[in-house]
């Protein structure tokens, strides 16, 4: 059971400002059903340019609902410039804090606010778009977003980043990238999570290379495929040519080719050698229905 503050419970059981403003000045929508939480924020300004009313509709857990409720309270009476300064930390603090694993709810609140302000400033036309490259494909989190939560909340570990913006919490395939972003921003403060991640260190004997390939498949590639019901098996290594077979969902997946190049080959090049090329085993390529389920 999560330990919620009384304030969170109060706003969850009796949320304020539920609903949608008709003819709003700004609308912000973030999240989706698939992600497990989503928030639609609407606000209206008075003649002095201050937020007169704000309402929300939220799909999500108790802390997502409480965060939305409290955010709409906070907004009332603020100018747009003042509202734009609200951070996810402000929202969480207002609630007397949130469990660490639930901090992403406060980030969702801030994102919705930002989207609504952007929508207002562009005269109601602009829908929120993802800026920067997507790092976490499971939850659609961009590099910009990850950098921002790291800076605003002074995060140092991948686990924290996952708690704050969900990135890395799905298949886990992007955790290495998140770590790099952490290192870039926090320097030495960044906690190393994947201490055992294999690194290429000079010339390898054939046996070392094969072991490193197997290790990379086990630790870096399989978890990502597993998350989608797939699997991979190392069949053979001929020099720099690595032969693998896709199993499970991967075997029938339209995107298997993409996975091969962008995940399998990329990871093996990153962790083993730039010379690596990957091919699919002939038998497995030809018999899609003979695979494991």
């Amino acid at each position: 059971m999560w330990e919620y503050t009384d304030k969170v419970k109060e706003h969850f059981f009796n949320p304020h400002n539920v609903g949608e403003i008709e003819h709003p000045d700004g609308v912000g929508e973030v999240g989706s059903l698939a992600c497990g939480d989503a928030l639609r924020l609407t606000f209206k300004l008075d003649e002095n340019g201050k937020i007169k009313d704000a309402k929300f509709k939220t799909f999500g857990c108790a802390s997502a609902i409480a965060t939305s409720s409290v955010l709409t309270d906070m907004l009332k009476g603020l100018t747009i410039d003042e509202a734009a300064k609200i951070t996810n930390k402000d929202i969480a603090d207002y609630l007397g804090g949130l469990p660490e694993q639930k901090m992403h709810c406060s980030v969702m609140g801030r994102e919705a606010l930002e989207a609504a302000i952007e929508n207002y400033r562009s005269g109601g036309r602009k829908k929120r778009e993802l800026e920067g490259t997507v790092v976490c494909t499971c939850f659609g989190v961009t590099e910009n977003e990850i950098e921002r939560v790291i800076r605003e909340n002074n995060l140092t570990t991948v686990e924290q980043v996952t708690n704050y913006c969900k990135a890395g919490g799905g298949c886990g395939g992007c955790q290495g990238e998140i770590e790099k972003i952490l290192e870039k921003i926090q320097g030495d403060k960044a906690g190393k999570v994947l201490e055992t991640a294999p690194r290429w260190a000079g010339r390898l004997t054939n046996i070392q290379k094969i072991q490193l390939i197997q290790q990379t498949i086990n630790e870096q590639i399989r978890p990502a495929l597993r998350a989608h019901g797939g699997n991979i098996e190392l069949i053979d290594v001929e020099g720099d040519k690595v032969i693998v077979a896709f199993r499970g969902m991967c075997a029938q997946c339209m995107l298997a080719e993409f996975t091969m190049k962008d995940v399998v080959e990329a990871k093996l090049r990153e962790f083993v050698s730039d010379e690596i090329s990957v091919e699919e085993d002939e038998d497995s390529a030809q018999q899609p229905h003979n695979h494991r389920a």
């Binding site: 999560w2 509709k57 597993r226 019901g229």
Partner: protein, 386 residues
């Protein structure tokens, strides 16, 4: 506020009769059953008695029962012990909907050079036995498939599977933690080689479980040390727990039929009323082929943790397959394997009943549930007019 406990697949209340049976073994009869003196030695008779009680519930020989510390240990012991006894075989077959006590063990095996096949399930959560048959080959050391699913209650055709696996000369283990005490089992007429059970799922305390090992099944011990459990599981016996498990099995054997008819009646009443009174909800799992105590329902457009907290306010305990309650960010692996869309998986609630539930409790929940769903849907951006 009275607690209404509908989370019996998570754990159960220790039966008063079980507690009474256990009590003397803490301060009075605390001897070590391995001791030579009468004071300790008399305890071994109590353990023998408990072993007979467990064997009686399963219709097997008492010598085929090994006491363990929990269901997870039984699963680990069965899987790792079987593989260690057949070191040349490198393939294990399981399913995508197993409890983590099996699934995580199997996935770890992959990192040790084993090939692990995870069979999928259909929309109702049922297995395709042809696919299983296709996968069993000479290299297969073990097939491990659960008896009944903890989340949906779906029962696999374990007897048929055991027969099939035996015909191929392979070992078959089943995690029957959710089945034992809820549905009748008869291992004397079965081809199951190994079966795990857990005490606290059938009104015995936490910290005790058992593993059935058919005579003649080769199993390398998982816990090594003293000679307890005929050398198959070292460690001083958890005497009060074992005595409690024995009593709980005796009670289950005595009452299984009538109690489960009553539990099923209550479950059906709860489930049918909720499905009828709450719009946009779906039953997860196979309506017919299920444990009598489990109902798993998805409420569209709303999220499981929020529902649980609202239920909690009324003292009603249930559980959810939503991401927010799993401690991870993704919803239940069981519902996802069944192809339940993410959107419905996030809003899934499991009610699991026991013989201690009453019709009054069911009626109270039937009254509250539609209000909760309505209230949360009012907040949901995916419902147009709340």
């Amino acid at each position: 506020m009275k607690t209404i406990y509908f989370d019996n697949n998570a754990t159960t209340k220790v039966a008063e009769e079980v507690l009474k049976e256990m009590k003397p073994f803490f301060c009075d009869l605390y001897g070590n059953p391995s001791s030579m003196h009468t004071f300790g030695g008399q305890i071994s008779r109590k353990i023998r008695n408990a072993r007979e009680q467990v064997a009686n519930l399963l219709s097997c020989d008492p010598a085929e029962i090994i006491f363990t510390s929990c269901g997870t240990e039984s699963d680990n012991a069965a899987i790792k012990g079987t593989l260690a006894a057949a070191p040349k075989k490198r393939k294990v077959i399981t399913t995508r909907v197993e409890h983590p006590a099996v699934l995580s063990v199997c996935r770890d095996l992959e990192n040790h050079g084993y090939t692990v096949i995870e069979l999928g399930v259909d929309k109702k959560g049922n297995l395709d036995l042809d696919q299983l048959e296709e996968q069993i080959d000479d290299d297969t050391a073990l097939v491990t498939i659960m008896y009944a699913n903890n989340e949906t209650g779906v029962i696999f055709p374990v007897e048929k599977i055991a027969e099939l696996v035996k015909s191929k000369g392979t070992i078959f283990h089943t995690d029957a933690v959710q089945a034992v005490g809820k549905i009748p089992l008869n291992l004397s007429k079965s081809n199951i080689d190994l079966l795990s059970l857990s005490g606290h799922k059938l009104h015995a305390p936490k910290g005790v479980g058992a593993l059935y090992v058919r005579k003649g099944t080769r199993l390398h011990p998982f816990m090594v040390g003293g000679h307890q459990e005929a050398g198959k599981r070292a460690g001083t016996e958890n005497v009060p727990g074992i005595v409690g498990l024995g009593k709980a099995c005796q009670l289950a054997a005595k009452n299984i039929k009538e109690e489960n008819e009553r539990v099923k009646y209550l479950r059906d009443k709860l489930e049918n009323a909720i499905l009828r009174k709450c719009p946009d909800c779906i039953l997860n799992g196979d309506k017919k082929n299920r444990l009598p105590n489990t109902a798993n329902i998805s409420f569209k457009y709303i999220e499981g943790e929020a529902i649980l907290l609202m239920l909690d306010k009324y003292g009603i305990c249930a559980s959810s397959g939503s991401a927010c309650t799993s401690g991870s960010l993704e919803p239940s692996h069981v519902l996802r394997a069944m192809g339940v869309p993410f959107t419905a998986a996030h809003g899934s609630i499991r009610f699991s009943l026991s013989r201690y539930n009453t019709e009054k409790e069911v009626d109270y929940t039937i009254e509250k549930m539609p209000q909760i769903v309505k209230k949360l849907r009012k907040l949901s951006p995916f419902v147009e007019k709340g």
